[in-house]
């Protein structure tokens, strides 16, 4: 059985799990409704109690939407942050915290990082299995956009081709991220630092001119300005990475003796295996080499536990709301007791009243869950848009199989709970209820 399950494609496994979760409800429904045709009376009941039914359904829908929306959001955020790190195969920095270095290099969060020196950078650049190495120099900004010193090779790697313009070829040229409010031909003066503490005018009259525009990458780099690393060093009064015999062309090779240092270097290797070999080679007392994707995966593994807790909490919340609805339903059936007793007096068997009451509750639960799933999609999209606006990480949160499983489990569980008010209705004394 286990082998058959694992032999199925992923979607087949998901469908099977969904059906498995819905099985208790289907079995109960078949047993409860067997031999009865409750449709006309059920419709009459819904019509007569339309507002109460609508309120109960809305309560269930909102609780389902909140639960599924939040869980879908967590998954969307996890995938969005991983996608944003796709281009950062291997990052080499001075020894320290991998997470701090990752937040700085991949997500452009301001951090104080120790620097890699020229000799180390040259060793990385000269490695025969390295196909691309680029320094990443942080610390300056323009408005809320970080100004990052790097090479044209890195910009090309990150963008896979500019959306407009050309790569920078001089120290005073810049490439703007897709969400930066600068167009080709615009100029800007970099401030020293980031945020409220940034020192405007600290770099004198130096200004960059935008010569290219990046396409959207779905990462914080969409709000960054990329400039030649030489200019970042120069405006801070440092050597520009090239010796006296420099031909004037910006970019590599850099002279180790005139290399002021870089907080991080992005490294690409000829293959995945070579990247892991490089990581081992540059995990030394002087250098820290890490895969942002692996660091994120470890963080996400921690979040996986949180996700499980969130899922359980979501189900508990939904069940509590439904329990409240079912309690309300019990009060409603008391109000309907005379009509139900009349049904019994006219010859309807007890089990018919049981089936009618259960099918009424099941209809509210199923309708509420279905509307809740739709509301969950809307909630996910709204929250995802808000997160994207705040973090620049494109979060594409859509409901998937985990949410469908959650709702299927919820529907089955509450469908079973609905047996209780149905049973209590069935056992009410007919004569007393007829007297009213």
């Amino acid at each position: 059985m286990d082998e058959i399950y694992h032999a199925l494609p992923n979607w087949g496994q998901d469908v099977l799990v969904t059906l498995g979760l819905l099985t208790p409800l289907l079995v109960v429904g078949l047993i409860v409704l067997r031999g009865f045709h409750v449709g006309p009376l059920l419709l009459g009941l819904l019509r007569r109690q339309v507002w109460i039914s609508a309120v109960f359904t809305a309560l269930i829908a909102v609780s389902v939407a909140l639960g599924t929306g939040l869980i879908a959001q967590e998954r969307g955020l996890r995938q969005g942050t991983a996608r944003a790190a796709d281009k950062f195969d291997l990052v080499i920095a001075a020894p320290g915290s991998e997470i701090t270095a990752m937040l700085a290099a991949v997500y452009l969060q301001p951090s104080d990082l120790p620097l890699l020196d020229g000799a180390t950078y040259a060793e990385i650049a000269a490695h025969p299995r390295v196909s691309l190495v680029a320094p990443l120099g942080f610390g300056d900004s323009w408005r809320d956009a970080p100004v990052v010193g790097t090479t044209a090779g890195f910009v090309n790697h990150l963008s896979e081709g500019l959306a407009a313009g050309r790569p920078f070829t001089a120290e005073d040229e810049a490439i703007a991220g897709a969400r930066v409010a600068l167009e080709i031909g615009d100029s800007f003066a970099p401030a020293h630092g980031v945020g409220d503490a940034a020192e405007h005018g600290a770099h004198g009259d130096f200004a960059y001119r935008v010569v290219g525009k990046m396409p959207m990458t779905g990462s914080p780099w969409d709000r960054a300005l990329m400039v030649p690393i030489e200019s970042v060093w120069s405006v801070h009064g440092l050597a520009n990475g090239h010796g006296p015999d420099w031909d004037g062309d910006i970019g590599p090779p850099f002279s180790p003796a005139h290399f002021p240092g870089t907080p991080a270097a992005l490294v690409r290797a000829e293959s995945l295996g070579a990247t892991y070999s490089l990581q081992a080679e540059f995990s030394t007392a002087q250098t820290m080499a890490f895969f942002p994707g692996s660091v994120l995966a470890r963080l996400h593994a921690l979040m996986g536990d949180i996700r499980q807790v969130m899922s359980v909490l979501a189900v508990i919340t939904q069940v509590l709301v439904t329990a409240g609805v079912l309690a309300g339903l019990m009060m409603l059936t008391r109000l309907l007791a005379r009509r139900l007793a009349l049904l019994r007096a006219l010859g309807a068997p007890r089990r018919f009243v049981f089936a009618l009451t259960w099918s009424y509750a099941a209809t509210l639960i199923l309708t509420g869950a279905a509307i809740g799933l739709l509301l969950g999609i809307a909630a996910s999209l709204a929250i995802a848009a808000a997160i994207t606006a705040r973090t620049d990480i494109v979060v594409a949160a859509t409901l998937g199989w985990p949410e469908i499983h959650l709702v299927a489990g919820f529907v089955s569980l509450t469908g079973l709970l609905a047996l209780l008010p149905a049973y209590l209705t069935m056992t009410r004394p007919v004569i007393t209820d007829l007297r009213g």
Binding site: Q79, D86, G273, Y276, S277, F291, S294
Partner: protein, 167 residues
């Protein structure tokens, strides 16, 4: 189950497996079950996670003290149908392990096989892996192979329970 116990026991009793062969096989590790050697290569703290599925990842630390690069190619064990060298990769928001043909380990470096990194993937496991048990497997290099004892840790373990101990 018995097979899990027999192989480590035999390895412990026998001491250096294949000892005396000059090239291409594991050398004496002094009875230390956490350590295996192949020339200048030391394999330390091989471990995996308890599981009842038919696949498991094997992790360890490989220290290469030699002068020439070594190439890790895979492995073999009696308890699984196949052993594949794999590496973790994250692409387009989805993460997973992909097969590697081989892995070069430069002289003087330590290659750590760990979760969300490089690992050896066992497929077609004969029986569940039970926590606190161990089993033997061959780790294959281009120059030969080494016999390691793989410690089965908890299902949610992130490291060998003796990680950090010197051997």
């Amino acid at each position: 189950m018995i097979r899990y116990l027999i192989l480590p026991a035999l390895l412990l009793i026998a001491g250096p497996v294949h000892a005396g062969e000059d090239h291409g096989h594991a050398h004496d590790s002094g009875g230390d079950t956490h350590l295996a050697t192949l020339g200048d290569i030391r394999l330390v703290h091989a471990w995996t996670r308890a599981t009842d599925r038919d696949a498991a990842l094997i992790f360890m630390e490989i220290e290469h003290m030699g002068a020439e690069a070594a190439t890790l190619t895979g492995g073999a064990t009696d308890i699984a149908d196949g052993v594949t060298l794999v590496a973790f990769q994250s692409r387009d928001g989805a993460a997973g392990y992909v097969a590697l043909p081989d892995l070069t380990i430069a002289p003087g470096t330590e290659m750590v096989l760990r979760p969300e990194g490089v690992a050896l993937l066992l497929t077609g496991l004969d029986a569940p892996l039970v926590e606190d048990k161990s089993f033997g497997m061959e780790v294959e290099f281009a120059r030969g192979h080494a016999e390691v004892i793989v410690q089965i840790e908890a299902a949610n373990a992130t490291r060998h329970s003796h990680a950090g101990h010197a051997h």
